[in-house]
């Protein structure tokens, strides 16, 4: 059976690439601290020695559109091109190409469907910054095969928060039962409080620092009971109009396990949003 070598949850700030590569007058004052935090976070994946990465993210209206919108989708392709013209335009993100891992994709689809998730699939998927950003931060050499898992956190009606948690638990169980000797890292990115296109966007902090503090505490301690008691599809509009991306963190809490404390936790209060980084090592707990 495969080994889950690391579980990683983080935000995906599309401005990191530009901030971290900028020099001279273009380099923002917070860039050095941000790069130092990302370097430390990257080491938490490197030391887990993964062979394959399951990447949980959410397409931001790039390839997936409202005429045919899946709630949960698993990529199954030999390759995934990455990033789109409008991400190049707005964030300066580079075009990328990542190898796929079709055997693990096939296993997650077959077993996931049989476990009660009617997963959509894609044989030709271009991935966006919800997946390429964590590659840039955690594995910039982009040398490992991936299995992308997309969730709908963007277009109502969305699945309930509990469904994200259940899918996370299922992905963890399937990664552990996959007949392989590979070391699997499960990496997912979402948002804390975030507003895009509304009156609270691009402030000096995230739109709801109190929500962010609570969310960071829930994630770091694996406190699914408190998170699910406070969070609903309706309540998530309040901390910011894009805060449904927090449901990808809930999914990753499902992967990590209820009340399992993160082995590594860090955060960074930036303009516009709070960054947060978590890593669990299931092997050490076993």
């Amino acid at each position: 059976m495969a080994t889950v070598a690391a579980v990683i949850a983080s935000t995906h700030h599309p401005f990191y690439y530009r901030a971290s590569t900028a020099t001279g007058e273009d380099r923002p004052p917070f860039a050095d601290e941000w790069v130092a935090k990302i370097d430390a976070f990257r080491e938490t994946l490197t030391r887990a020695r993964p062979d394959v990465l399951v990447m949980v993210g959410s397409d931001h209206f790039h390839q997936l559109w409202l005429d045919n919108m899946p709630q949960f989708l698993v990529g199954k392709a030999p390759y995934y091109d990455g990033n789109f013209y409008n991400e190049e335009r707005e964030f300066g993100l580079p075009r990328m190409r990542l190898a796929g891992h079709e055997d693990l994709s096939r296993y997650l689809l077959r077993e996931g469907i049989d476990a009660g998730f009617d997963l959509a699939f894609s044989n030709e998927l271009r991935i966006d910054h919800s997946i390429t950003c964590p590659i840039i931060t955690l594995r910039p050499q982009a040398d490992l095969p991936i299995v992308p898992v997309y969730t709908n956190i963007f277009a109502p009606p969305m699945p309930q928060p509990t469904r994200f948690v259940q899918l996370g638990k299922t992905i963890r169980a399937l990664a552990e039962s996959w007949p392989s000797h590979a070391r699997v890292a499960i990496i997912g990115t979402g948002h804390l409080s975030l507003e895009l296109g509304g009156p609270r966007q691009f402030g000096p902090h995230g739109p709801d620092p109190q929500f962010d503090r609570k969310a960071v505490s829930w994630i770091g301690s694996g406190d699914l009971a408190s998170a699910l008691a406070e969070v609903s599809l309706d309540s998530l509009w309040k901390p910011g109009n894009a805060t449904h991306g927090f449901m990808d963190f809930l999914l990753m809490m499902g992967v990590a396990g209820e009340n399992v404390k993160a082995d590594y936790a860090d955060s960074l209060d930036l303009f516009h949003t709070m960054e947060a980084y978590f890593t669990w090592y299931p092997e050490a707990a076993a």
Binding site: D67, R89, F154, P156, G197, Q201, A242
Partner: protein
């Protein structure tokens, strides 16, 4: 009420560099052309298999033709789509970093929760 079509306009313009520039240069003409030629194209189908029923309301057409992001917000256009496209259209006219994004927010400052429904 055709929030879906508003979103479809924003989405199909935003992902095409030539259409972004055309919409910046000639907003009203681009909206007229798009509604006549593109509104009913099903993106995943052959062009001959188009829809037959999609059209803007007058308020929606005017909000797009006047590039009024406050009106689009109030009509329930998806805020992410509006923001992304409008940054492409107008950030270049605001040299100070993030100044356009902050001005965009300030023009919406009269809005408190709940925000307009964006479901389609």
């Amino acid at each position: 009420m055709s929030r879906y079509l508003l979103d479809k306009f924003l989405y199909t313009i935003d992902r095409d560099p030539e259409l972004v520039e055309r919409y910046r240069r000639d907003p009203r003409g681009t909206v007229t052309w798009w509604e006549a030629e593109r509104a009913n194209v099903i993106l995943g189908s052959h062009p001959a298999e188009a829809s037959t029923w999609l059209a803007f309301t007058d308020a929606e057409r005017e909000a797009l033709a006047s590039q009024d992001h406050v009106a689009l917000f109030e009509l329930g256009a998806h805020p992410f789509l509006t923001l992304t496209l409008f940054i492409a259209l107008f950030e270049r006219d605001h040299p100070e970093p993030l100044s356009y994004q902050r001005e965009y927010a300030a023009r919406l400052a009269h809005w408190t929760l709940p925000h307009p429904d964006i479901s389609t």
